[in-house]
Symmetry: C2
Subunit: 152 residues, 2 copies
């Protein structure tokens, strides 16, 4: 019914999706203990590793629309995990940075998050993880949204 080429590609993609979903589900369970969603964690982690960013830069890092970032930041701000500041010399930009509480939280949570992923991937040996990374990198780069299809 399906051509061979089709069967192979669809099968690989289903397995790819399922694999990501199962690992993400594990990380979400653990993040929920701290009352964080995966998106909130993504923002805190980006700020932690890259320092203060404006909202567009955050959106580019975690691949979300600007409207979405705006909301996620509002929720983080409500819990005093980040600060937003308008730049004086260009009032269109908002600089986002971790609060002390936010820094403490991400410093506590990141090792656990990382541990969850390392454990999940540990069914694959070093060489398999390298190969998986190589194939996914190739796939991701070839299909990255180009030609004016970035999210606004």
């Amino acid at each position: 019914m399906l051509r061979e080429e089709e069967r192979l590609a669809l099968g690989a993609f289903v397995k790819l999706s399922r694999a990501v979903e199962t690992v993400i589900a594990k990380t979400q369970r653990h993040l929920a203990d701290s009352g964080l969603t995966l998106s909130q964690f993504g923002v805190l982690e980006a700020l932690y590793h890259l320092g203060p960013l404006n909202q567009r830069e955050i959106g580019r890092k975690i691949l979300k629309s600007s409207g979405n970032i705006s909301l996620v930041l509002t929720n983080l701000e409500r819990r005093s995990l980040i600060h937003r500041t308008r730049l004086a010399h260009d009032r269109r930009h908002v600089t986002v940075e971790l609060s002390d509480r936010g820094r403490e939280l991400i410093e506590t949570i990141f090792p656990r998050h990382s541990g969850t992923i390392v454990a999940a991937l540990s069914v694959l040996d070093r060489q398999e993880q390298e190969e998986l990374g190589r194939l996914c990198r190739k796939l991701g780069l070839a299909n990255r949204s180009g030609r004016g299809q970035e999210r606004t």
Copy 2:
């Protein structure tokens, strides 16, 4: 700063997530032309390939919570793409099936959807797709949610 094991696993996982996100983004753009979300498409596709199912079975197929399935079905029902029927001999169960309109729609859309994925994966040759499938299958199976963590 990060141990080698950690760097490798986190790196592989980020690439894995990005690859899935980029391919999914492509399929969503195309599904949006028909006014379907990915979840709605997932339901229609399951019904198309597997025949009538109850809501729990659908949830298991597309890995979503029962509450979510309930809502997605309501939205599909509003557009007359599916029918819901209570089973006479066990009134707890709802049998979901494609309407004629739903069948027409999925028959039109599925080939395009499939084509999008085949095209996206085509940067990998046959052997690479097989290897990617093998690695992801291993990863997914090892981390499938067990121990009472299914979604309700």
